[in-house]
């Protein structure tokens, strides 16, 4: 299973904070983005940071592992 997290404005647009996706060997971050981006284009248009296991990731070709936690995030506005 891959755990997918959404926060703040992104969560509002996806209308959930969390979903699960089945893991399949060879799966990349790009596969997840492509799959979810089609269903939630409005949410993904404001995604500016992606983290895998709490670390920011720039390379969308990154291979995922089972039980990874992916977070799709809009620009931070804390402080």
């Amino acid at each position: 299973m891959i755990k997918v997290l959404f926060f703040g404005p992104v969560a509002d647009r996806v209308q959930t904070h969390e979903m699960q996706m089945d893991f399949s060997p060879g799966m990349t971050l790009h596969n997840v983005i492509a799959h979810l981006g089609i269903q939630h284009p409005g949410a993904f248009s404001i995604v500016s940071l992606i983290a895998v296991n709490q670390n920011q990731v720039h390379d969308k070709q990154m291979a995922l592992q089972d039980n990874d936690e992916i977070a799709f995030m809009a620009k931070f506005s804390g402080g």
Binding site: L5, F7, G8, P9, A11, D12, L49, A51, Q54, A71, M73, A74, K75, F76, S77, G78, G79
Partner: protein
């Protein structure tokens, strides 16, 4: 003793935080602090409340990293970062940063650097709740 880096719903006490900071060293000559609080209006709109949401585990990890980097980069004796994640009213405290150093220049530089970096690097989002409706804040580019 409270942890030097925290995300919490409840308010913080400057007295307690500064006391804890000072406890780490008797060589501290200067302490710079920053308190961010909720304004009652923003960009011309009246704001009655501000709500916060955080990616807790990642936010806490980044805040800890930020503190360690500041201590290293500015030669601090100690530093603290506390961010509230809850819904606050106008005038309420949001964030507290403290930097303690032998001399004041390092304390000021580090305190300012930490709040600037926090805004860039820590996954927390704020939503302004106004009489006209709610809106997530979009940071200026």
């Amino acid at each position: 003793m409270l942890d030097p880096v925290r995300i919490q719903a409840e308010d913080f006490s400057q007295n307690e935080e500064v006391e804890a900071l000072k406890a780490s060293s008797r060589r501290m000559g200067g302490i710079a602090t920053f308190i961010g609080c909720a304004r009652d209006f923003s960009e011309g709109r009246e704001v009655s409340q501000i709500g916060f949401e955080a990616y807790g585990s990642m936010a806490l990890a980044e805040m800890n990293k930020l503190r360690s980097e500041a201590i290293e980069k500015f030669g601090l004796l100690d530093a603290r970062i506390v961010h509230r994640v809850t819904t606050v009213q106008a005038g309420d405290n949001i964030v507290f940063i403290a930097a303690g150093a032998a001399h004041r220049a390092a304390a000021f530089d580090a305190c300012r650097w930490m709040i600037d970096e926090l805004k860039q690097r820590v996954p927390i989002w704020k939503k302004e709740i106004t009489p006209q409706g709610d809106a997530w804040v979009t940071p200026h580019p």
